[in-house]
Each structure stands twice: as C-alpha cells, then as structure tokens.
C-alpha cells in the first residue's frame, strides 16, 4: 500500500523522513524501493549475480587486476567488466547481461573464485537473460559492420533492436553517431540516420538512456510506404552531435608553464620586426654544408643566427641582462647562453647553447645537434634547460612570417624567426631579383630596453647575416 503511494507522489524525500522512524521492517523495504525508483526510470529490475565463469585448464582462482566499470554504471551484453589474471594468463571478463552494475564483489588484487559471484547486475526483467554458455557462433566477419561498434577500444555487440535495424537497412554501424553512454548507438540514432536518408518525419524519442520497449518500432517499416505519398520535409531537430567535452587537470610541465607565462606577461613587451635578405647566407651555407658533414655534423641556419646574435650582444649587452624582482638592479650576464626553442612531445622546450661568445659557428652546430637528438629522445638534462640569457625561436620551420614572441623570464629579449621565402626584390641597380627573405620579430622588456637599442641591435644582426663576410671582421 505504501509503495503505491510513493510512486504517485512527487516529493519522495518528505515521505521518507515521515515514515522511516515509525515503521521498521516495512520502512526498510520502502526505502529500498525508493532507491530503485530514483535511479532508474524503469520500474524494479531483477538483481542477478553474475558468476565468474570457468577459465579453463582447471583454474579455480584468479586475481582481479582492473575494473572497467564501477557501481552504478550501465553495461550492455558483451561489454568488458574487468581484467583478471591467473598464472600468466590475463583474462577479459565480459558481461552476460544488459543492465546496471549494482555491486562489485572484489577489490583490485583480491582473489576471485570461479563459480562465485563477481558482480551483481540489475537487469530489466522484460529483456530476458543471455544463455549460460558463451555464445559459440560468432557472427561471421562480413556482418560485423552491422552488428558491432567499437566502444572504448573493445568491439561491442550492439543491442538486438539496433542490430536488426542495421541489418534490415544495410547500415554500417561505423557510420552512425551514437548518442548513448560512451557513444553507444541507440535505436534512435539509427532511426535519425534513416530519417535523414529518406526525409521521413519520426516521432520524438524519449531522452532516457534505458529505453523502455517502444511501440514506435512499427513506424519504421511504414516509412518506405509513406515516402511515396509524402513530400520529404527536412527533420526539424538540430543534427545530433554526440562529441563530449573532456576536462583534464593541468599538471606537470604544463602547470609550470602557466606560472612562467603569467610572470612573463607582467613584463611590458614591445615589438620590433624587420626583413632580412639571406640570399648570400643561403649560398654560404650550401658551400659549408658538405664540409660540416665530413666532420659528422648537420649544418642548419641556426648556428649563423645564434653567432650573429652573440656578436650583436657584445655591442648591446643590455639585451643579455636580467632585471631583479623589484626592478632595482640590472645584472649584465657575462655568458651568452642562447636558448633555442624546440618543439618536443611535451611542448615547447628551450635548451640553450652555453657561452656562444667563445664558440665558433661549427661549435654551435655540434652543440645544436647534440641538443636536438637529446630533445627528440626526451633526454635533455637540467643543465641543458637552465641558465639561458637570450632566446631565438625558429617558428618558421613550422610556418609563419611575423610573430609576437613572449619573453621567457628571467630574460629580457626574444627573437622569433619566420620562414625563408623566395620573394622578388629590387637590387642596387633597380633590377628585380630572386631574394631569400626571412622576417624576424623581436620582443623586449620595455622597462630597461628602449626601441632605439632594439633597432640598432637588430640592424647589426641583420647586417652580419645579409653580408656574412662582415662577421669575419668581428669574430673573437
């Protein structure tokens, strides 16, 4: 009598508190029913104890190693439930039923026994139960496109209604967007897909995940007949996109970058950009590349850019400085430890070449090779990644011309190099020629560096690169 009252009344909470203390045994049964009512739209299902089936080879116990589901999750027949291990064999246990997991009988690393309950599943009484034995006849491969979809990496059998519709209409499940849990394909999804194909109007489907047996099944065979008589009307509902947002915590290196970049943006940046004609440098590098290869070293443009920057820093040391926290003191760094931004699996890492002021272009090339191979192997050391005083970012290898680089604290300047493009330019005689043009975008800390200093440094750097022979004059 009380149970009926619960179902018809909307404020369940109120009733629970009112009755629980007055009646003991019936109140318990009462609250049990309540729990079922609240968590599933389908009225009371039957709880079945799913026992651990025979593993073979006379094995009686296994260790539970991983659960793929938790209490409260809904499962379909053939979904993976857990992974157990026995004597070098790892076994994936799959569900025999459609339903909701109500209880896990073991925790990770517990010993589970063959023939004893593994999980309790609440099944929909109207759906019926799969046979005791594992299904021996696997559907032949050619039909799998109509019967199986991949969920969380496991090939999973779709529900009987979905399979029937897919087979009847020759639909590949891989082409359907599933709107159920973990992108499971529901009957609605197939019906929507069909509607889009035929232009038929379908009755709206219930939003609940656990679908009560629908009267609407009959609508589908009727559709082809209706089509002949009805003018196709576009389905008024928006296209169902089942992509789900994915939220992940910010951890590790990313977290550190958040701190660094927040600090960096407190620096008042100003930008300065220019265009460099690398035609002569391109030719020089072509000549020097084979020489470097003979010594076992790959020679790119970066060693030249880095050396020229160091020569420029000798004239404008404020660009190789550091400003203390309170902006009270500027420290002019003696070493030119020039950082090179590198794209790795982690993200943008900046190892630096130490003491460029005493290195030759070849020395720089050797060191760059070393840093690059360590970077791609994920083996850069802490000393490679600390102590930088000035940074160059060769974003042009990925693409782009102009950039707005962000200064990496505790440095005060950074340069971003765009890609080298072949562009028409005028020479001294007013003739058009093919020039190898690269853009550079500098950012500097405006608290201690002014525009004029940046411009003069950039011009000097540019002159070294546009006329590489001039570097010889100033090489130390």
């Amino acid at each position: 009598v009380y149970i009926h009252r619960v179902r018809s009344c909307s404020s369940i909470r109120f009733i629970k508190s009112k009755y629980v203390c007055v009646f003991d045994k019936s109140a318990l049964k009462f609250s049990h029913q309540q729990r079922l009512f609240r968590t599933s739209p389908v009225s009371c299902g039957q709880i079945v104890q799913f026992k651990l089936s025979d593993i073979g080879e006379g094995i009686t116990e296994v260790t539970v190693k991983e659960w793929y589901i938790k209490e409260g999750d809904s499962v379909s027949q053939f979904d993976s439930i857990c992974e157990v291990q026995s004597d070098k064999a790892s076994v994936t246990i799959t569900s025999r039923y459609d339903g909701i997991i109500r209880k896990l009988h073991y925790s990770i690393d517990d010993i589970a026994f063959v023939g004893k309950p593994l999980v309790d599943i609440e099944i929909d009484a109207s759906k019926g139960v799969a046979p005791e034995e594992d299904v021996v006849e696997t559907p032949p491969m050619s039909h799998e496109e109509h019967t199986h979809q991949e969920i969380k990496g496991h090939k999973t059998l779709a529900t009987p209604a979905v399979r029937r519709l897919a087979m009847e209409n020759n639909i590949k499940l891989s082409e359907i967007v599933g709107t159920g849990k973990d992108n499971r394909i529901l009957k609605e999804d197939i019906l929507n897909y069909l509607a889009k194909q035929t232009g038929a109007i379908l009755p709206p489907s219930p939003k609940a995940e656990i679908v009560p047996p629908l009267r609407k099944t009959e609508a589908v065979p009727a559709a082809p007949k209706d089509k002949a008589r009805r003018i196709p009307v576009p389905v008024s509902r928006p296209i169902a996109f089942s992509g789900k947002d994915k939220t992940e915590p910010v951890t590790g290196f990313q977290k550190a970058m958040v701190k660094t970049m927040s600090a960096a943006l407190k620096i008042p940046h100003f930008g300065y950009s220019d265009e460099i004609d690398l035609t002569q440098l391109v030719q020089l590098r072509e000549e020097l590349k084979p020489l470097a290869e003979l010594r076992g070293v790959k020679l790119s443009f970066m060693p030249f850019f880095i050396k020229a920057a160091s020569l420029g820093l000798l004239q404008y040391p404020i660009l190789n400085a550091s400003l203390d926290e309170n902006c009270q003191n500027v420290t002019y760094k003696a070493s030119h430890n020039i950082g090179v931004a590198m794209d790795t699996e982690q993200g943008l890492i900046v190892p630096n070449v130490k003491n460029v002021q005493v290195c030759s272009v070849f020395d720089i090339a050797v060191e760059l090779n070393r840093l690059q191979s360590l970077g791609s192997a994920g083996q850069l050391g802490t000393s490679d990644l600390t102590g930088g005083t000035f940074t160059l970012s060769n974003i042009g290898t990925i693409g782009g011309t102009y950039a707005k680089p962000v200064i990496l604290p505790p440095e005060v300047a950074i340069g971003a190099l765009g890609k080298i493009q072949v562009l028409p330019r005028f020479n001294g005689k007013g003739e058009v020629f093919k020039a190898q043009i690269m853009n550079v975008s500098w950012s500097a800390d405006h608290r201690i560096i002014d525009g004029a200093t940046m411009a003069r440094f950039s011009n000097l750097w540019k002159s070294y690169l546009e006329n590489p022979a001039s570097m010889l004059l100033d090489l130390k």
Partner: protein
C-alpha cells in the same frame, strides 16, 4: 627456406590483389603467418587485431614474429620494478606492455616469438608447448628439452629457453611464448635488473631464471631453422600445408584499424600509465659544499602519475615558496624523468636568479629525477 620464402612472396603478391577475405580463408583448420616487421609495437598490434577480429572457430592461427631489441612487460607489471629504464633509454631499447599476463622478457632478433590463436574453448597451453618440444627434438634429437608445469621450456633440466603468457577474451584466446635461439645474454641480464629502490607494489613480479641460448648448445641452429621446424610440426598436427604466409603489420587494407592499435600500444598512458598503483619510499645523500644532506622521499604513483609527494628536506635549505612549488608541481605530474626535467627547469624561471639557489635546486632535482 629461401625457396620457401620466394614461393611465399609470389603467393602473397597474388593474394594481395584478391579481396582481403581470401587472404584469411585457407583450406584446412589452420593458418601459419609470419610478420615481415621487427617492430615490437606493430607485432603486438597484429596479435590484438587477430584476437579482436578473427573468427577462430574453423581455423586456428600460428603467428611467428621477431623483434629488434625491446623489453616487453606483462599487462599488470611495473616497468620500474622490472627493468633498468635508464639503461633502456640510453641504449635506445624500446619498452612495450603487452595485453597478456605473465612476466618481463627481453627480445632481440635472436629470440623468436610464437603465438597460438584458438577459440576460448580450445585454449590449451601444454599442447602448444609440447608441439614446440616435439619440433625441436625432430630437428635435433639429442636436445634435452622438456616442458615444466610452470609452462616454461627448460634446456638440460636447468636453463629456461622459453617463457609463456596468455590472453583470454570472450570467444577467442591466444597463448604466446618466446624461444631463445641466439639472443644477447649480457644485454638481457643488464636491462632486466632494476636499479630502483624502495618500490612497493602489487604488480605481478617476474620470476628470474637462468637462461641459455639454443645456439650455445648447438651452434648450427639458427632462428630461421627453428621457425621452420615449428611451422612444420604445426602443419602436421593441423593437417594443413607447410606454408608460411608473410604478413605486413602496416597494411591497413588487410588489417583495418591496425594503425590505431599500433599507436595505442606506444602511448605513455598504455606503457607507463597502466602500471598498478605503487609507492616509492627511498632516500639519497646530497653532498653540498661541506655537508652531506640525507633526504627522504615518499611518493605514491597511480596511473603513472605522482598522486602524493613528500620530500623530507632540512627546513630553509630551499626558500619555502620554491619548495612548495616543487611539491605542488610534482603532484599530478607523470612519474617520468623527461616531464620532471621540463617541469623543474621551467619552475626555476620565476625565482630570483642567484647561483647558490640554482646549484641547490639542480642538485635536489637531479636526484629526484634519478628516481624515475
């Protein structure tokens, strides 16, 4: 064997032009395939693929494969416990986690892998191992090899030449095992020795064993001969042609979805992230200027990430702000030297730049990174 391979190639080139269904269906209750790749991830992906997609009711499969140097851990194992990860990285030896259970093995081209695919009902490891022993004895009758009840194959009653592992799914199963022909034993023993101290976990531990190469017993044996002998015995027992079909694990048309499977096996989340929860409780000494500091570290690692991190340092050795940033930064971060290096070097950027601080920080961080 050369003629056999040539015949196979011809046969394969005809087969490639036919629809893929024809590739898989042969007369008889068995199929013998051999991988042309020595990439451990690609080969493991083939196992996954066959396990997930093939109907083994009418036809069982024997898959033969070899890998370039790699360490393969079992599904539920802890790589830090099982091998010397630092050495692996230095020597560029790959690390893979397979889907079957069991212990850790070292693979190189001197080791052959055999996978027996059957339905779940027909899963039976002893039979497979006895088949291998029979093949070995047919090839070299004087070999003293036998199967133990731990599913190992022993040479001369003492040396392990084969280890076994298995995977069971809903309808299909596979049993794979190794066979040591001519593997590099010195590399094997050095990489399978873990230098990490203070690890506590419920991960499946490996059982170390003395090993020997078949080549050491009989120098005329080669991997090819062994593969051939085993294929022959399998063919006899399944009443099929002694015919090895070559398979390319990168062929997406033949094995649709194989590229994704291969990629998944290489992700950090699979190789390291699937390690069962473990804790690290250790200490190290840091010599700094005139003193030696004793540092105790306790970490809980779950899904390969540091869940809890405690570093017992003398107070004020590092500025408190920086110390708490370090602990906060490590929490939630991957238990990985590369990730940690990037993390600690980036954290340092926003702190006052004095050399004293730098050297203390580097000293501490380098010791922390060595634990990973």
């Amino acid at each position: 064997m050369v003629l056999q391979s040539f015949k196979n190639c011809l046969w394969l080139s005809c087969v490639l032009r036919t629809p893929k269904a024809c590739f898989w269906s042969t007369a008889g209750g068995g199929l013998i395939i051999q991988s042309v790749s020595s990439d451990v991830y690609q080969n493991l992906a083939v196992e996954d693929w066959i396990h997930d997609h093939m109907d083994l009711e009418k036809q069982q499969i024997l898959f033969l494969w070899r890998n370039s140097p790699a360490v393969v851990i079992g599904r539920h194992q802890n790589p830090w416990q099982e091998c010397n990860l630092r050495l692996l990285r230095q020597k560029n030896i790959k690390l893979a986690r397979r889907r079957s259970g069991g212990g850790t093995v070292y693979h190189d081209l001197g080791n052959i892998n055999l996978t027996f695919f059957t339905t779940r009902k027909k899963y039976e490891r002893m039979g497979n191992l006895k088949l291998i022993v029979k093949a070995l004895k047919a090839l070299r009758p004087q070999l003293d090899v036998h199967v133990t009840d731990r599913y190992d194959i022993l040479l001369d009653r003492q040396y392990k030449i084969s280890g076994t592992a298995a995977k069971l799914g809903r309808t299909s199963a596979y049993h794979h095992c190794t066979l040591l022909c001519n593997a590099d034993k010195s590399v094997l023993s050095s990489v399978l020795k873990s230098p990490y101290k203070g690890l506590k976990s419920n991960a499946t531990p490996s059982v170390p064993a003395s090993v020997k190469n078949l080549f050491e017993e009989d120098a005329s044996l080669t991997s090819e001969m062994l593969l051939d002998a085993i294929a022959k015995e399998y063919a006899v027992q399944h009443q099929i042609d002694h015919h090895i079909t070559l398979i390319n694990p990168a062929d997406e048309t033949l094995l649709p979805g194989i590229t994704n499977k291969t990629k998944e096996l290489q992700t950090w989340e699979w190789v390291y992230g699937k390690t069962p929860k473990f804790s690290v409780s250790t200490c190290f000494n840091m010599a700094y200027k005139d003193s030696v500091l004793h540092v105790k570290v306790n970490m809980d690692v779950k899904h390969g990430r540091i869940e809890v991190c405690n570093i017992d340092l003398p107070e004020q050795w590092l500025p408190p702000g920086l110390y708490s940033e370090l602990v906060k930064g490590l929490t939630g971060s991957k238990f990985c030297p590369n990730e940690t290096t990037a993390l600690v070097t980036t954290l340092l950027r926003v702190y006052p730049q004095d050399d004293e601080l730098h050297s203390r920080w580097s000293l501490l961080c380098e010791n922390m990174i060595r634990l990973m």
